[in-house]
């Protein structure tokens, strides 16, 4: 059972994640509208394109904060283990895909898919790791 403190940490994590998700959707809408209507060029275009990446960076910081604030060692270990498996799987897939792109000329994978791919693997790893501790 999770402690009261752990629950408040979880609550804070979910609240922050929700804010970041809203910011992400907003920044995506702002970016695509600005590119469609203002047709920026050069540095302005790069900065606009970077806009939706900022909430994603914030989401990564929020995960780091969650890990440092989480006092329940079991929950933290569970999360860290899942993240390590998740990143291992992501690096494996990106390396294989990269090699296939380079040598076998398969369809290139967009780099911004790396983050959601990692999230999927972390989620799957969490299910497996959690089951192992039951």
């Amino acid at each position: 059972m999770e402690s009261k403190f752990s629950n408040s940490v979880n609550r804070r994590f979910h609240r922050r994640s929700l804010v970041v998700m809203v910011l992400y959707v907003l920044s995506l809408a702002v970016m695509s509208q600005a590119i469609d209507h203002l047709h920026p060029k050069g540095m302005a275009l790069y900065l606009l394109a970077l806009l939706p990446a900022l909430p994603i960076v914030a989401a990564i910081v929020i995960i780091a904060l969650y890990l440092s604030e989480q006092k329940d060692e079991f929950v933290r270990t569970l999360q860290i283990e899942s993240m390590l498996w998740g990143v291992g799987a992501t690096l494996t897939v990106t390396t294989i895909w990269g090699a296939l792109e380079k040598f076998a000329h398969i369809r290139p994978m967009s780099l911004f898919l790396v983050y959601p791919l990692c999230c999927v693997f972390v989620f799957l790893a969490r299910v497996v790791v959690k089951r192992r501790y039951r």
Binding site: L48, A64, V87, G88, T95, P108, V114, C118
Partner: protein
């Protein structure tokens, strides 16, 4: 070279990682030569393209083995924090670059760079975490 490492688990890990790095270079050369000289097609091209990714998978597995074998909790914690730092760094960079690629037509970053970039960030992270504990 490896004798200076007193911890046997760490020494084993470093030796295994060097072997995997050497295999990665060797397999990359083999794959590049095969594609340059015999231009394989179909399933054979996929198999040859995947060849350099195998030692990388081996390195990831050995990192997991090291984390499971390492009895020194401080050392394990140091590596875990560095890996998490590396994860955050690589996810932030790939997301930012991905958006710039898709919306600002930045040059395509090959997926094969994700793995070395991950270790670069993990290395920087390792230095920072170590400095914090001094």
């Amino acid at each position: 070279m490896f004798c200076s490492i007193k911890n046997p688990t760490e020494r084993r890990y470093v030796i295994r990682m060097w072997i995997m790095a050497a295999l990665c270079v060797l397999f990359s050369l083999v794959a590049a030569l095969v594609f340059r000289h015999s231009r394989p097609h179909g399933i054979l091209s996929y198999l040859v393209a995947v060849l350099p990714a195998l030692p990388i998978m081996g390195a990831l597995i050995y990192t997991g083995v090291y984390l499971a074998e390492e009895k020194d909790e401080f050392q394990r914690n140091l590596l875990v924090q560095s890996l998490l730092g590396g994860t955050g760094g690589i996810l932030a960079v790939t997301t930012a670059w991905g958006y710039m690629e898709d919306f600002a037509r930045a040059p395509h970053l090959d997926l094969v760079w994700v793995y070395p970039l991950f270790w670069l960030f993990a290395g920087i992270s390792y230095g920072l975490v170590r400095a914090r504990y001094r």
